[in-house]
Amino acid sequence: MIKSFKYVLALLLIMNFAISYSKAEEKKINIFTCEPEWAILLQEIVKDKANIDSAIYGNQNPHFIQAKPSLIAKVKNSNMLVCTGAELEIGWLPMLIEKSAYKKSVVYVSNYVKMLDIPSKDEIDRKNGDVHPFGNPHIHLHPENIKAIASALLEKLKEVDSLNYDFYKKNHDEFIKKWDEKILKLKDKYKVLNGVNIVFHHKDFDYLTDWLKINKVAYLEEKAGVSPSAVYLRSIVDKIKNEKTKLIIRAPYSDKDASLFISNKTGIKNIVVPYSMDYDGKNTIFDLYDNILNAIEEGLK
């Protein structure tokens, strides 16, 4: 018994030390994002007035993250949590929130955009793979979504960090202006993509294709989230050939085998296109769109 008391005492001492240590830290608010795209977007608004961190590195699959220790600690220390929602993080975010007993602000940015691909009641069945009942959650590749989300984040920041609101508002307005110009430029530069036939591995670029009117010939995943079967891949070879497909695209986290298989059978080029970017303080949302569209443009050459 005495032994266990000693143990508890040691724990209390550690806790005491830890709490006093954390109090000594600076007063800036901590914002924690699930996906790095929200971190690089927030950076445009908060600049150096808040600490930002992201759970995911640029090219990790947002569906398959584990509730690892470092993430629990980061949620615990944050004042504002920014995630996509729409069940994208269903496997790990609820666990992070529960473990860290987090009760502060959570923003699910998918609430502020028009979701694509919302399944009908009949389609919500695991027979159809990893169906997202609230629609396709890969929302950051439509520039209008970025605008809507930037404004929603500004509103939340007003609640969480009202002292710096004027600063945030100014940055936000500047960003929207720059972003509007960027959209026009990109739309003009990449109008060649309009109607181009492309095959995708997963539904992760759907918002981009919706924006630039790229024609999706097929997905290599017959059912979202279920690895493609050889039988299915063989069945789509003819269709892909006949529709004069120009390119096969997959995100960096997707398995390469299916792309290589189709590429071999049809002679169509397969490329990896960035899906997001590391949050490192240097990358911007402008860079992300440039990198993705450059990669597609290079692929088409």
Partner: protein, 355 residues
């Protein structure tokens, strides 16, 4: 007993139906329901060294089916029930409510408590078809006594979690049997693609027999010390390598008796699993126990497990496992070969990717 079983199963199936119907009606207040089904083919060959006995056993069987219903209760509480259903028996594996107060998580009821790595996990989420022999030796099927646990993640940059709990596993009005636990966990990332967690746990059990005159019973005190470690390297394309290990050391002493009655056991397991992609994984576990038999003679049990598993999706797994165990106890010396082919599937709510 039979009648009770039918009534209960009728109640549960109607719960399920209501749940699914509710889902179709978009009734957002329905609890999450998930159901685990599993079954296996098992082949055992046990060779007893002492008398040369050689036993075969080959069987098809379903394991416990598991039904979990969970939900937030109101703004303060969550609750969950997990039932393990087997022929004519329904066991309550977990039934708890939890809440958090000033950042401290409180869980009360019956649960797979946070004591070591494997104990808080449901076996269907394991990487292997069976738990390592060291786990079974020290923890039994699982430690899920009735009681409560507090846990707290410290508000510091690195992950540090502490917890304490008190439980009652063997309820009996004649004597008191109480267990206490306490733990400390630390974890962090190493670079971009590696992470680990290490934990120290103490589970102390006290049996106090003041109230009884039964001479067979005596006061006893039991301290189980556990250390666990988990390490991941994540590669691209959902491929990763995972190491999980636990070390157990148990001190058992009859408090009223002298040193003769004192005994200490220890054991460990170490497992390594490589996941090629989302579909295929292979892994091995090595486990060892050091203990003493009734004649106070030392013995060892060693066990090796090898497995290959296939996941069609996040919701279904098929696994083939070979196991070999050797016991050098002079009273129970055996070699045991086991082959298991099993399936584990989950229906309903999306399960958590717990660490």
């Amino acid at each position: 007993m039979k009648f009770k079983y039918y009534v209960l199963s009728a109640v549960f199936s109607s719960c399920l139906l209501m749940g699914f119907e509710g889902f179709a009606n978009q009734n957002a207040f329905n609890p999450d329901i998930s159901l685990i089904l599993n079954g296996k083919y098992q082949y055992d060959n046990k060779i007893l060294a002492n008398d040369g006995g050689n036993f075969y056993n080959s069987s098809f069987l379903i394991d416990e089916s598991e039904l979990t219903i969970s939900s937030s209760i109101d703004d303060k509480f969550n609750g969950a029930l997990t039932l393990a259903v087997m022929d004519g028996e329904i066991g309550v594996e977990e039934a708890f409510i939890n809440s958090s107060l000033y950042g401290v998580n409180v869980k009360v009821g019956r649960s797979l408590w946070d004591i070591g790595y494997l104990n808080s996990k449901h076996p269907h989420s394991d990487n292997f078809a069976t738990r390592p022999i060291a786990y079974e030796f020290f923890m039994g099927e699982s430690f899920n006594g009735d009681g409560g646990q507090f846990s707290y993640v410290l508000p510091v940059k690195k992950y540090v979690e502490v917890g304490v709990g008190v439980y009652n596993i063997d309820y009996n009005s004649d004597y008191n049997n109480i267990s206490y636990s306490t733990y400390l966990r630390f974890g962090e990332d190493i670079g971009k693609n590696q992470d680990y967690r290490i934990g120290l746990y103490l589970l102390a059990n006290r049996t106090d027999t003041k109230n009884i005159i039964d001479m067979e019973m005596e006061d006893s005190s039991n301290n189980l010390f556990i250390m666990d470690y988990k390490y991941n390297i994540n590669f691209m394309n959902d491929s990763k390598l995972t190491f999980i290990g636990e070390y157990y050391h148990n001190n058992l002493a009859g408090v009223n008796d002298d040193i003769e009655n004192y005994s200490a056991d220890s054991g460990y397991y170490a497992s390594l699993v490589y996941q090629f992609n989302r579909r295929w994984a292979v892994g091995g576990t090595y486990s060892q126990i050091f203990s003493k038999n009734e004649d106070y003679e030392k013995y060892q049990i060693q066990e090796s497990l090898l497995m290959v598993s296939y996941n069609n999706s996040e919701f279904s797994t098929i696994r083939l496992q070979y196991g070999f165990a050797h016991n050098n106890d002079s009273l129970d010396n055996y070699n045991n070969h086991t082959v298991i082919l099993h399936y584990v599937v989950s229906i309903g709510a999306h399960s958590a990717h717990s660490y």
